[in-house]
């Protein structure tokens, strides 16, 4: 699969490396070139400096031929903007969006975007850890 990842933080970098290990064609976008230090040495994909909300950047990154777009930038709104662009304007089939705010995540999921909220996941994991074994 051709996969475009927006945001090279810990999650973006980890996911990118894992996906190239699995043989996928991966491009990682970040506004800060310094973020690419997080990619592991075995990362075999492409790295591009630029914003995932910028149409020129998306086109340069090959959004038109992308099978999957994953928005993992730090800002919820930027992720939501870029994802809706990928889906509505460029017709990307699979679009996944990280939205930290659980309510916003839920609302955009209702609008048909595949969102997940690390906040909600974290709360659940922490809660379950407390009562483990009870």
């Amino acid at each position: 699969m051709r996969i475009l990842i927006m945001g090279c933080g810990r999650v973006g970098a980890g996911l990118a490396t894992r996906l190239t290990d699995e043989g996928h064609e991966v491009t990682v976008l970040d506004t800060d070139a310094f973020a690419f230090r997080r990619l592991l040495p075995n990362f075999a994909g492409r790295r591009l400096v630029g914003s995932g909300t910028d149409d020129r950047m998306l086109i340069d990154a090959g959004i038109a031929e992308t099978d999957c777009f994953i928005a993992l930038a730090s800002g919820d709104n930027r992720n939501i903007l870029a994802s809706q662009k990928a889906k509505e304007i460029y017709g990307v089939k699979t679009v996944v969006t990280r939205v930290k705010d659980p309510l916003r995540s839920e609302m955009f999921a209702r609008l048909g975007i595949h969102t997940f909220s690390p906040t909600k996941v974290g709360v659940t994991l922490a809660h379950d850890a407390i009562f483990q074994g009870e």
Partner: protein, 224 residues
């Protein structure tokens, strides 16, 4: 009417001052930067609230559920889009208006249910044109879904139209002179109306006729 304005930058501030003059409206200005919010609050009072206008819980707290109109004017297109989408889909706000900072986002915003967009670059262009004396045609408003726009043109020295009645002028097709603003104030013209140097003309014209109308009404461009 209850209006929520998201973004207290220069555009939001200007709008807040306008809306304050209208006693029928209740207005809340939302500003995310705490220092800027404090500064606005000192000037405008309790209508200013510090918070994130794209966050559902916060919007709930400022009464988005009973808002009639939300206007998102921040410099961040993502924040403006999300503020409008959340207002529309979570709070059922009837009308949403967003400022678009990157003109390439215009189509996306309209497609995703933002009711109206204010294009920052369009407004800036109009400002620039207004300050250039040789550009004597000022676009006031685009009429969506057509090639037509509303323009403001000043009749200048040397204009071929000066001193002549409208009926004697050979305008390109689809040009409609709607209002003439002269020394005696604004008037709706008829065929006998005569244009004078210094008059301002508000007209609906097709974009492709800009140059033709400009040279007819405003006169020759200096140095061109």
């Amino acid at each position: 009417m209850y209006i929520i304005v998201v973004g207290g930058g220069s555009v939001g501030h200007g709008l807040a001052l306008e809306l304050q003059q209208m006693p029928d409206h209740e207005v809340t200005i939302v500003e995310v930067n705490s220092a800027r919010a404090a500064q606005l609050r000192a000037e405008l009072g309790e209508m200013v609230v510090h918070g994130d206008g794209s966050e559902i819980a916060f919007l709930d707290g400022v009464g988005a559920g009973r808002a009639d109109l939300i206007i998102a004017l921040t410099a961040d297109d993502g924040a403006n889009l999300v503020a409008c989408q959340v207002s529309k889909h979570w709070f059922n706000v009837k009308r949403t208006i967003a400022r678009v900072n990157d003109p390439r986002n215009e189509a996306l915003f309209l497609r995703l249910g933002v009711d109206s967009i204010v294009s920052a670059s369009g407004a800036v262009m109009a400002q620039i044109e207004a300050t250039l004396p040789e550009h004597t045609i000022i676009p006031l408003m685009a009429l969506e879904g057509s090639r037509l726009h509303v323009v403001d043109i000043r009749v200048q020295q040397g204009s071929p139209a000066a001193g002549r009645a409208l009926r004697d002028l050979q305008f390109p097709p689809e040009v409609l002179v709607s209002v003439i603003i002269g020394k005696q104030g604004a008037r709706v013209p008829d065929g006998d109306s005569v244009l004078q140097v210094g008059d301002e003309v508000i007209a609906v014209i097709p974009r492709e006729s800009d140059a033709a109308v400009r040279s007819m009404i405003a006169g020759p461009v200096e140095g061109a």
